[in-house]
Amino acid sequence: MRTVTYVRALNEALSEEMARDDSVFIIGEEVGGVFGVTRGLDRRYGERRVRCTPISEAAFTGLGVGAAMSGLRPIVEIMYVDFITVCWDQVANQAAKLRYMSGGQVKLPLTIRAQQGNLTREAAQHSQHIEAWFAHTPGLKVVMPATVEDAKGLLKSAIRDDNPVVFLENRLLYELKGPMPRDEYTIPLGVAKIQREGTDITVVATSNALQKSLAAADQIADEVSVEVIDPRTIVPLDTETILASVRKTGRLLVVHDAPARLGFGAEVVRLVTEQAWDALQAAPRVIGGLNLPMPFSPVLEDVCIPDVPRIAETIRQVARS
């Protein structure tokens, strides 16, 4: 095992898949730069395969969808996931639906990469977590890596997948360090990972909330035995792993940074109450972001997002109830 950063893991995944398959190319604004995920790829693979675009997300996302229909394997980068709004038609009405509408004639081996995140004081139009929009749109897979190892393995699977995959990175995790296998590997989409075993309560958490939940579980380790599950992909969702855990613990808490209202947490509660009702010993809970546009001021932003103490306290509450 080596130790690398999340951003480096992503960079390696891109580079390896580009080396492996000439039909893979990257398109987006300032690719080769900004957050470092694509750094150096422009020099290594040239302009043909790492394409900097004008600020025309709808055009270059559409280009990606059309290229996927005609034999390439595009990776479209949206600089901040918030900007998906300007190309939402190409994502939600085109990429998500073309294969089905064609009766299975076209394949859409398209990866849309974007980063989300908060606490960087960039205000309402640069701080959204909107995996729910994607996940509520049939025809898109939605991946949210929370660890270094997953970042690489899931991105490689996303690129190889013949369907449109929305790959949501978290900019707060870019500098996270973690172990990384030396040999090549991929991680299948649709398989959750139990990141910590426990017996008192099941915590399902995504992206940076997974890291915060692990920290919270550590903090209260002598009081509560917490099982922490990272679904890793929201669509397809590994419901079985979650259900098996809840059947064991009898308790459920879901944590994410996206607003709680109609968020992923609600979906997990729906599935668990429907399919593991008899196992539940207490009311399931969700902690999410506030239902607000993100305020700029640090003192306000800080209270909008679940933090470790609040997660720990809620785990305690649910475990005791």
Binding site: P54, S56, A58, A59, M69, Q94, G103, Q105, D162
Partner: protein, 322 residues
């Protein structure tokens, strides 16, 4: 480039096929509606036949077409099977999109037909994809986006023109100005009399042609295709014609009689027939034979589509994921 005699005659066949197909589809549609089964939207291409026929005659089988909501004509002109298209309109499993797409979403990937679009303008950025793909793979294929004058007011038109011009993508932007978007006249949707002038703002050629004349469309398109294949980038062609039918089958209209009169005078089909006869590229007997063939084809298509089975409801989840 001028079309050859063979191409001139083939364009007529294409136009006749489209016209007859639309009449057939409308009849089927009305028939089904009378039986209480409503088959969604149906946008007739009648009046615009010369555009699809003239432009697609310049395309090869391995070129790509991204179509609009009004796409039956493109499908036929690019070589699509009318039986499969009619079956699609009736929602049958043997439809060209296996009954999943319907009238606005006709696919035949072997022929480069990558679907119509229910979102006005939605296909324009998609068409950049095959153009990029051809450039990337180093082939000389081209991509054509068909869209209405109404669609040209969508932001993606601008973004795609700019990107294609910057990267010299092999793409033809084919704007079909049929003078209306639903009931909005072109002059209330587009701030200039000719959309083709916008090409100058992207540094690429733009031309307005008579969309009632397949030869004019052919000439403009063949030039644009040659440019594209040579690596000289995109072109914008505005082909002006007239939508003969209401926007779709369910929207009422009352156009002025004078306008309808004018429409009948510039109907591309009789005019082109007359021209071919006058120029002696075809005689009355050959024309009649061609019409009979087209009529037979439609009869076959109706028989085929009506007899074809519906999809199995249990298979509703098929084709979501590859």
């Amino acid at each position: 480039m001028k079309p050859t005699t063979d191409q001139m005659i083939e364009m007529l066949r294409t136009m006749l096929t489209i016209r007859h197909f639309e009449v057939t589809a409308r009849t089927q549609y009305g028939h089904n509606r009378d039986l209480g089964s409503f088959l969604g939207a149906l946008h007739s291409y009648e009046g615009q036949e010369a555009i699809a026929a003239g432009s697609c005659a310049c395309l090869r089988c391995d070129d790509y077409v991204l179509s609009s909501h009004r796409g039956h004509g493109h499908f036929i002109a690019k070589g699509g099977d009318v039986k499969a298209m009619l079956a699609e309109i009736l929602g049958k499993e043997s439809g060209c999109s296996r009954g999943r797409g319907g009238s606005m979403h006709m696919f035949d990937v072997k022929l480069g037909l990558l679907g119509g679009n229910g979102v006005v303008g939605g296909g324009i950025p998609l068409a950049l994809g095959p153009a990029f793909s051809a450039q990337y793979r180093g082939t000389d294929q081209v991509s054509a986006a068909f869209f209405g004058e109404g669609a040209s007011s969508q932001g993606v038109f601008h973004e795609a023109m700019n990107l294609a011009a910057l990267w010299r993508l092999p793409i033809i932007f084919m704007c079909e100005n049929n003078r209306y978007a639903v009931r909005t006249p072109a002059c209330e949707g587009v701030s200039v009399p000719e959309i083709s002038v916008r090409a100058a703002g992207y540094g690429c050629p733009g031309v307005t042609v008579d969309g009632n004349d397949p030869v004019a469309v052919f000439e403009a398109t063949s030039e644009a295709v040659a440019r594209a294949r040579a690596g000289d980038g995109p072109s914008l062609i505005e082909a002006v014609a007239y939508r003969q039918q209401p926007h779709c089958m369910v929207i009422a209209e009352n156009r002025q009689e004078a306008e309808l009169e004018q429409m009948r005078e510039c109907d591309p089909l009789p005019n082109y027939e007359t021209r071919l006869l006058t120029e002696r590229l075809i005689d009355h007997q050959q024309l009649q034979a061609m019409k009979d063939e087209v009529t037979n084809l439609m009869d076959e298509a109706v028989a085929y589509a009506e007899a074809a089975p519906y999809p199995d409801p249990a298979a509703v989840h098929d084709y979501l994921w590859a």
